[in-house]
């Protein structure tokens, strides 16, 4: 029982980071309508920014969070203006190829600038642990989970109360109708894409503390985010957190209880993706 509860705790903590990355992806997909394969590279940007600030200026990754948000927002905005906007009306395949190409380009750019080496930061709280009776909670995963939750709640409040957030939802629901009501879709798209990248950038800073910075650090999270977004329903922001929980708990349970389950972690999200797609197909049939 103790092992089961600890496994649940491990899964819940991981779900926070998954949800943060996947929310960004769901935003770009739901509002802008772009399948952004380069989403993980915005995460990589945040991770490297955290590493560079820590290694060369001694800046604690916690302080890098705001900067990473702004930097990734800026890069996301520029990416939208320079690359995404011209293909908004192009066939979906072209859009996907473009973002896939951008992903490859950014990974190789990082490879060129930093090499393939894994880089790590060393804040003093990196392995801090809270012991609650027989249960252990890593302070960093807990902090990442709480921060993710706070950001997602703030995003929810923004989308449901702020005029700009309402405009984003309106554009997501019907671009033409929102246009007729005077909502400038271009501006909303720019803001959404920037916000999507910014969320990934913040997640990147967290991952620089929990894992490492490397050119490919975002790749796996992009794949998992696709599974989460598919499970939640394309563009359904409210479903992202529960879907992230399902994925993270499934991974934790398989890893703990299935013999050799640690090697099957990557198979879990493919299974989740597969089941989600098959389930939807059945419901739609």
């Amino acid at each position: 029982m103790e092992l089961l509860l600890q496994t649940f705790l491990n899964g819940v903590l991981m779900a926070g980071v998954y949800a943060l990355v996947a929310t960004g992806l769901a935003l770009s997909l739901g509002v802008v309508g772009i399948v952004n394969f380069a989403h993980g590279e915005f995460l990589m940007l945040g991770a490297y920014l955290s590493y560079l600030l820590f290694a060369f200026c001694g800046v604690d990754p916690l302080l890098s969070l705001g900067l990473a948000f702004l930097a990734a927002f800026l890069v996301g905005g520029l990416t939208y203006r320079g690359l995404i906007r011209p293909v908004l009306r192009a066939p979906e395949l072209n859009q996907m190829l473009l973002t896939f190409g951008l992903s490859v380009f950014l990974q190789n750019l990082a490879l060129l600038l930093f090499g393939a080496d894994t880089r790590v930061v060393a804040p003093p709280y990196q392995a801090a642990t809270l012991a609650l009776g027989p249960f252990f909670l890593g302070a960093v995963p807990l902090g990442a989970f709480l921060l993710s939750l706070a950001l997602l709640l703030a995003l929810h409040a923004f989308l449901t109360r702020a005029p700009l957030g309402l405009a984003m939802r309106a554009v997501a629901q019907n671009r033409l109708a929102s246009g007729l009501l005077g909502i400038e879709a271009e501006g909303v798209y720019l803001l959404t894409f920037g916000l999507s990248a910014a969320l990934a950038g913040v997640a990147g800073v967290m991952l620089s503390v929990m894992l490492y910075a490397s050119p490919t650090v975002g790749f796996l999270f992009t794949l998992k985010s696709f599974a989460i977004v598919a499970l939640a329903g394309l563009g359904n922001l409210k479903g992202v957190l529960p879907a992230a929980l399902v994925l993270a708990l499934a991974e934790a349970l398989v890893s703990t209880y299935v013999p050799g389950g640690g090697g099957l972690v990557e198979a879990v999200f493919f299974l989740v993706l597969f089941l989600a797609l098959v389930g939807r197909a059945w419901r739609g049939a």
């Binding site: 496994t7 491990n10 990196q126 392995a127 801090a128 252990f136 929990m210 490492y212 703990t256 972690v265």
Partner: protein, 391 residues
């Protein structure tokens, strides 16, 4: 005028006496083994520069990247053979890539000086190839050296349980069953779990290990896993007496991270080794690159080129067969200790350079790697139990 003519004749004479070699270098400069590959290239270039400055041999290096990927390595190697037309190739760092090169190497027949490729699958693949010189110890040498350490931990330190985390690719999984058996034969209880490298998710497995209460947490994987394992071990409340890692390279900045304290591993060389050749190498490396490396592939590359240059000088000819003959009879002091070639332990290959004697165990202690075992190579005593404290 006469002086100028004399100088010209002298230069021509020197050039005639000099053995010129075009040497292909195929290394992983990108991909999973890039850290080791770049270190190896630095060592190779340093030694080539020294050899060229010596004046007796002229080495021209043609460098290609194998990308730690067989599908990139084979065309890169073919280019060395057909476009650059080299007769001598230095390379073969990753086992999977070297295995893939066995066919093309046999087809084109160069003198192949192998820097890594420890897997005995490679030994089998090159069985009978007459121009195969393998400098790096084989995997059974690595296992023998590691087991010697585990035997010491069991007998002298009372370690009884080992939890093994191994990545589920060829690097971590090959031979895990045999390894487990051998540890059990030494008297250990062993629990082994695979994991997906780069996933960063160790808490479930480590939580499960908590019930097992291992004395040693042993992970066989890549550099990307080092920090997550060190952090999550503490986060789940696992308290091993030793964290022992066996990655091909360690992450940049890991030594500066307090979580690296007391983490142990195995290497063939460290810049703090006190032998004369090692000190010379460190000095030359620092002079050329302005830094000190801790990657043992750097001196390994250096040793290969040094031995090649010496063999070419003795052979007095760029002919690969004559150089191979000279190389086979070579005795050389190196940063790893003495080098000479003999048949491999299984008898499958004729020219094996180093054996298990070059390996030693180190521990990260206050931001640097220090040799701790065997005692004759140790610069400080092993810290057992290590201080993997909760904060």
């Amino acid at each position: 005028m006469r002086k100028g003519l004399g100088l010209l004749v002298l230069l021509a004479g020197l050039a005639w006496a000099q053995t010129s070699l075009k040497v292909g270098v195929i290394l992983p400069l990108s991909g999973a083994s890039a850290v080791a590959g770049k270190a190896a290239l630095n060592g190779i270039q340093l030694a080539a520069e020294e050899a060229n400055a010596g004046g007796k041999v002229r080495l021209e290096l043609v460098v290609v990247d194998d990308g730690t990927d067989p599908s990139k390595a084979v065309p890169a190697f073919t280019k060395l053979m057909t476009v650059d037309k080299v007769d001598i190739v230095i390379g073969g760092l990753a086992s999977g890539v070297t295995f893939a090169l066995s066919g093309p190497v046999k087809q084109y027949g160069p003198l192949f000086l192998v820097i890594g490729a420890a897997s005995s699958v490679v030994e089998q693949a090159f069985e009978g190839y007459p121009l195969f010189f393998h400098y790096h110890p084989w995997d059974y040498h690595n296992v023998a050296a590691a087991l010697q350490f585990f035997q010491y931990l069991n007998r002298e330190q009372g370690a009884k349980k080992v939890a093994i985390l191994y990545e589920d690719g060829p690097f971590g999984s090959a031979g895990i069953g045999v390894y487990k058996q051998q540890l059990e034969k030494l008297g250990y209880q062993v629990q082994a779990e695979p994991y997906k490298t780069g996933s960063g998710q160790f808490t479930p497995i480590l939580t499960r290990f908590r019930a097992f209460q291992p004395d040693i947490l042993y992970w066989i994987g890549y550099d990307v896993d080092a920090l997550p394992i060190a952090a999550q071990t503490r986060q789940v409340g696992l308290r091993p007496k030793l964290i022992y890692g066996a990655p091909p390279s360690w992450p940049i900045g890991f030594e500066k991270n307090p979580l690296s304290q007391d983490v142990a591993g195995m290497t063939a060389w460290l810049p703090t080794l006190s032998n004369l050749e090692s000190r010379r190498f460190v000095e030359a490396y620092r002079k050329k690159y302005g830094e000190v490396t801790e990657e043992y592939m750097a001196p390994m590359g250096y040793v290969i080129v040094k031995s090649l240059a010496l063999a070419a000088e003795r052979a007095g000819s760029p002919d690969k067969n004559r150089i191979a003959e000279a190389l086979a009879g070579l005795r050389l002091n190196t940063p790893f200790g003495p080098l000479s070639f003999k048949p491999s332990d299984t008898g499958k290959t004729r020219y094996q350079g180093f054996g298990p004697e070059i390996w030693f165990q180190f521990q990260y202690i206050q931001g640097t790697r220090r040799p701790v075992f065997p005692k004759e190579k140790a610069s400080v005593p092993l810290r057992y139990p290590g201080e993997y404290y909760l904060r």
